[in-house]
Amino acid sequence: MRRRIDPVALLALPAAAYLLFAYGWPLAALLVRSVHGPGGFSLAPFAAFLSDPFSWRVIGNTLSTAGLTTLVCLAVGYPAALALAWSRGIVQVVLLLSIILPLSVGVVVKAYAWQIVLRRDGIVSQALVGLGLWSEPQRLLFTETGLVIGAANVFLPFMILPIYSVIRLLDPRLRAAAATLGATPLHRFLRVTLPLTLPGIVSGIAFVFSLAVSMYVVPSLVIGDRYQTLATLTGRAFLFMRNEELGSTTAVLLLAMAVSIVVGSTALARRLGSTG
């Protein structure tokens, strides 16, 4: 029996063609370059990079900032997504706007704004001293904490929106049913809402983590040259050191991290979706 191509699949053709040109091709060139030097095929650049303890510090920096940023986004974003989904009318419109609108402000502008907010005499420091939590003004700017705060601000909508879209589809009668059976609000949340929204959480994590692991502008402005990540190291290798070998090595490592997170979480979301 001959299988026919579903004509609906043709709708993906423009996007597929575009991605092939603008993404697939350069990506293939990058992958080839990372293992193919002047002396033929070799994994030596990877071995050299990974045998340097400093590289592991850079990888550690990359993973820890991305991981912490994702956690902060989840902690702040999940309640926000619930509020967004359960609100009605004008409140919902205002909430939605306040999540979408910041996306139109450039990352550079946001990073500069955080530089002002996180200073020693900035509003955060003043507030914490005023509340008696800090004995003297301190700066969060150019620290890892400051970087995570700034990055979480930039990437928060990418956590809220996928979770919101899942919550919105939940049947409200499920919670009502649980309530009539005597479940407490906490119990209803833990046993009904949370499990059903896991697919949204997983895709939010995938979005935010893959964006945060490869961010370049935010760390270069909010923490500076003293804290290298794989992305900033890649940029420097290409733009400044003109070391294409190092640049393609770090870029491929970064890609591998991001892809494994995205593929892993997609698989997880599918499993959770089918059993949930």
Binding site: F54, S220, D225, F240
Partner: protein, 350 residues
């Protein structure tokens, strides 16, 4: 045409316009024959003074058109490499360390006294590698400071190490050319050698620099960010700072000033060279000669807050008195920079 401008085009006017446009497009050779074009590659930050001072004077004198492409030195290098067989840029204005790379890759045409007569009038040490490039200006490196936060200006390269300035000092990354001076200044403080002799002892410099870490606010790669911090008082000093940037901000009214430490300052030379196989070669050499000449340098030193390289031109008004200017050994830098950067990453990181 008037109907097009007033916003109500009729069909006939459009046809007329279209016919005129296609006639123009069909005869590019005629247009080109009228004016000779010279493409100059340089730093984006230089665009304003090149286009306001250099280009009008040169175009008037030579009846040519100059197109200045302002970008980063390394991008210029990239452009030269990619178009090596058929260059379209004729002249490049780049940092000296990048010039060394361009020479290594065989991208430059040497300057000769016959084609560039002003070479003979330059200060010693401003023509490099047998005339491959020359310096047309020398911005200098000192310590920029916030005049409201600091009661007295810094007087020594050792001042930023004072524990009183905890978290108030900004350094350039050594991937920025102006950042290299810190290694040499630190080596000079640590060893007691002069700023010239200390350049050979980068190791001492790095050990000294590591003791500056408690005082560091940040290490920048983007100058505007650093000056933003300085002008708003979060940072108190930028060590080392380029005169061409710091004094321009001061002139614009920012509460900052640039101090020349007693050990001396470094010259941060701006180089100019002719691209190998350059189109309009005669014009290219004439452009280089103009920038090396006394007339042009006298006009440029003020607006660029730099020192002249022509022996017949005086330093601009407002330079600190008795300032000793030291040269950086760029060949040494070109050899060692990769290792220095590695060491910097490891020892200066958070």
């Amino acid at each position: 045409m008037s109907s097009i401008l007033s916003g109500t085009p009729n069909r006939r006017a459009l046809l007329r316009g279209g016919a005129a446009a296609s006639a123009l497009l069909a005869s590019p050779a005629i247009l080109r024959a009228q004016t000779r074009e010279l493409v100059v590659g340089g730093a984006a930050g230089h665009k304003s003074w090149v286009e306001e001072i250099v280009v009008p004077a040169f175009e008037k004198a030579h009846g040519a058109k100059v197109i200045f492409e302002g970008t980063r030195s390394l991008v210029n290098l990239e452009k030269m490499q990619k178009n090596k067989d058929k260059p379209y840029m004729s002249v490049v204005q780049m940092d000296d360390p990048v010039m060394i790379l361009a020479v290594k890759e065989g991208l430059l045409e040497p300057l000769t006294a016959a084609r560039v007569p002003n070479l003979a009038a330059l200060k010693p040490g401003t023509v490099h590698m047998d005339g491959m490039w020359a310096n047309y200006l020398q911005p200098w490196l000192g310590i920029a400071y916030n005049t409201q936060a600091m009661k007295a200006p810094p007087t020594s390269w050792a001042d930023p190490y004072d524990p009183a300035y905890k978290g108030r000092i900004v350094l350039p990354s050594i991937q920025n050319t102006e950042g290299l001076a810190n290694i040499f200044a630190a080596a000079a403080i640590a060893t007691g050698l002069s700023l010239d002799a200390a350049q050979k002892d980068a190791d001492a410099g790095f050990r000294k620099l590591a003791t500056l870490k408690p005082n560091l606010l940040t290490v920048y790669t983007q100058q505007p960010q650093a000056y933003n911090l300085l002008e708003q008082g979060e940072a108190w000093m930028i060590s080392s700072a380029m005169s061409s940037y710091a004094l321009e901000r001061k002139a614009a009214g920012a509460p900052i000033a640039l101090a020349a430490p007693k050990e001396g300052v470094f010259a941060m030379p701006s180089g100019i060279a002719v691209v190998k196989g350059a189109p309009q070669a005669d014009l290219a050499f004439a452009y280089v000669d103009a920038l090396l000449g006394a007339d042009m340098q006298a006009k440029l030193v003020g607006p660029t807050f730099s020192l002249p390289t022509h022996t017949g031109v005086a330093a601009p008004a407002g330079m600190p008195a008795g300032m000793v200017v030291h040269q950086i050994d760029w060949a040494n830098v070109a050899r060692e920079r990769g290792d220095w950067l590695k060491r910097w990453d490891r020892e200066m990181s958070l």
